[in-house]
């Protein structure tokens, strides 16, 4: 599986060093991240797994800059996020990061094309350009016949495809997926991962998928195990198989 990690040293997409994050003060303090160290590489599909509440979502939020961290550092494509002003950070995220959420978060009153076009519009494309690029991508992910359907007129799997198209349309180098299959049945979940594996993964792109859906583990290049706010271990796909399957 880890063929993309070939002789040439791959570029590091995300690196965290002793990353710490706490929520709340006093008695209610929650140490969500307790010094997380890990790297994600361009060209790989990295899965982050671990029990509920171990800090996976928090880690993702910090990596993509929607949540600030308290200690340590996080670097994305060589850029230390702490160095960016909030405006620059938003722009950086808009340009470099794509999101696939557990609750697809498609805007209910917008049709598929309109939903997909949002990242392009936010990056300054014209409506016409954004819509034609979006329509093309929707064809690519297999729902070219649903361009003008509202999210409510689509099945869960189709909605997640729209969400994936939206995450990809502006060609981000980092794709972040938080439990992308949690709201889907097994078959749709598999299809979504197949789509990610075949259409999304590319040598210059890093895909990070947080999940606890063991059915999709086989799609990973590496699997990072989190526990209680720390990175317990990072396995290659082969090691993981040997250990747990």
């Amino acid at each position: 599986m880890s063929t993309s990690l070939s002789a040439k040293t791959p570029q590091i997409a995300v690196r965290t060093v002793d990353l710490g994050k706490t929520f709340g003060k006093g008695e209610g303090t929650v140490h969500a991240l307790k010094g997380v160290n890990f790297e994600a590489l361009c060209g790989e599909l990295l899965m982050i797994v671990g029990p509920s509440g171990c800090g996976k979502t928090t880690l993702l939020s910090v990596i993509c800059g929607t949540l600030g961290h308290d200690t340590g550092s996080v670097t994305v494509f060589g850029q230390d996020l702490a160095q960016l002003s909030s405006g620059k950070l938003t722009a950086f995220r808009g340009k470099n990061v794509g999101f696939v959420f557990q609750q697809f978060n498609l805007i209910p009153t917008w049709n598929a094309v309109e939903n997909v076009s949002v990242p392009l519009l936010l990056n300054g494309s014209s409506t016409a350009d954004a819509q034609s690029a979006s329509a093309e991508l929707l064809h690519d992910v297999g729902i070219g016949d649903k361009l003008h359907a509202l999210p409510t007129e689509l099945s869960g799997g189709q909605q997640q495809r729209v969400a994936i198209a939206r995450a990809l349309v502006h060609k981000p180098r980092l794709l972040i997926c938080d439990e992308p299959t949690a709201a889907l049945d097994a078959a749709s979940g598999r299809k979504v991962l197949e789509l990610i594996k075949t259409r999304v993964c590319s040598p210059e792109r890093c895909v990070i998928v947080v999940t606890h859906d063991s059915r999709i583990f086989p799609f990973a290049d590496r699997i990072a195990e989190m526990e209680d706010g720390q990175m317990k271990a990072v396995h290659s796909a082969g090691e993981w198989k040997a250990l747990y399957v």
């Binding site: 938003t90 999101f99 959420f101 990056n123």
Partner: protein, 377 residues
């Protein structure tokens, strides 16, 4: 993005409808009520507008145009002698009882014009000639008289005879006037005959109407007349304005209308503000998703503001439109009063703008507070 912002708004039929209804209602209530208020106030100055002379002189105790404190007739001579006065003529103006042919009574505003000049004559004659006022027992009545008499089954026309304080009055003409506050018809006659109609009193002169000399500054003349005669002189604009303000200060009219307008404001803010808050609140996770995807606060703010002002604009249009249609209908009937100067449109627009700004501000505070990270929840 802005096009999509509108789609987001229009797509949410229920809230969009609610917002537009609330704002329309608010705009309607405010523009309609202020127009009725202005119309009502305008009625109070009907006499000033009907008589149309530059300067009015009255007893020093008079504060407004519907109040008569009679003066001695000699005052006309004294005013005439003030330098800068081109001419000055007497006016009798008072509420009298007319007795109709069927024996019932009707209050009228008896207006006695200077017989030689007929200064203060009605602007529009529907039929008859104003000069016929000089015939014996002649009066000219207005359109209000026609409709009031018609309600009692009497067709007022040239030649109709009725009585004012037991003395005969014969209609020689029909004119058009601006309706007065109490809605009593104007009955014009000459000054000297008006004194015959009115019950005998020591003083009967109601007002002195003055024209300044061509090169004379009216304001200065007003001051000079007041000084020289001890009477109170007004320019007609100040007189109208003073009359309006007198009613504003001394009657419950502003309070009752103010209450309704305030109610409109409160209802508008409550409905629009709350619905808009709900709208933003329910779209929060989507706004947060947009934020995560790189939408800056400015972009989101533009979207929210556009949404707020769009419903405001539509609501304003509908509300003011309905008020205007209402106005059009009632103006044909003449009642209730209705006067919608452009200031009312601006005022209503301003209030709607404020409501929308407040609603948007509430929404924006929420948007600003949203952690983009909430989309992962």
């Amino acid at each position: 993005m802005l096009r999509l912002a509108l789609k987001m708004l229009f797509g949410d039929r229920a809230k969009y409808g609610m917002l537009v209804c609330g704002l329309s209602f608010c705009a309607l209530l405010m523009s309609q009520q202020t127009s009725v208020f202005c119309g009502l106030l305008l009625w109070t100055t009907a006499t000033v507008r009907n008589i149309r002379v530059p300067i009015w002189v009255a007893d020093s105790k008079v504060e407004q145009a519907n109040e008569v404190v009679s003066m001695r007739e000699i005052e006309v001579q004294r005013v005439r002698s003030v330098p800068g006065v081109q001419w000055a003529v007497p006016l009798f103006w008072g509420i009298q009882q007319a007795r109709l042919p069927d024996g019932t009574f009707q209050a009228i505003q008896l207006t006695g014009l200077d017989g030689a000049s007929l200064v203060g004559r009605p602007a529009i004659m529907r039929s008859g000639r104003i000069e016929d006022l000089r015939l014996p027992n002649a009066v000219i009545v207005d359109q209000v008289a026609i409709s009031k008499f018609a309600k009692r089954g009497i067709q007022l026309k040239i030649g109709t005879v009725f009585e004012i304080n037991d003395k005969e009055a014969r209609v020689v003409g029909i004119c058009e006037t601006q309706r007065s506050f109490l809605g009593q018809p104007y009955v014009f006659t000459t000054y000297s005959r008006a004194l015959e109609y009115a019950p005998p009193q020591r003083k009967l002169l109601s007002f002195i109407l003055v024209q300044p000399k061509p090169e004379q500054d009216p304001a200065a003349l007003v001051r000079r007349i007041s000084q020289c005669s001890g009477l109170r002189a007004f320019e007609s604009d100040t007189f109208s304005w003073g009359t309006l303000m007198w009613y504003v200060r001394n009657t419950g009219i502003p309070i009752s209308f103010g209450t309704v307008v305030l109610l409109g404001l409160v209802v508008g803010i409550a409905i629009a503000g709350q619905t808009f808050y709900l709208f933003v609140h329910e779209n929060m996770r989507f706004l947060a998703a947009l934020k995560a995807m790189g939408a800056t606060f400015q972009v989101l703010a533009q979207m929210v503001l556009l949404q707020a002002f769009t419903v405001g604009f539509i609501g304003y249009g509908i509300g003011v439109g309905i008020a205007a249609i209402f106005g059009n209908l009632v103006l044909q009937k003449g009642e209730p009063p209705f006067y919608m100067p452009w200031q009312i449109l601006v005022f209503t627009g301003g209030v709607i703008l404020i409501i929308c700004s407040l609603s948007a501000a509430v929404g924006l505070v929420k948007v600003a507070r949203t952690e983009a990270a909430m989309v992962f929840k």
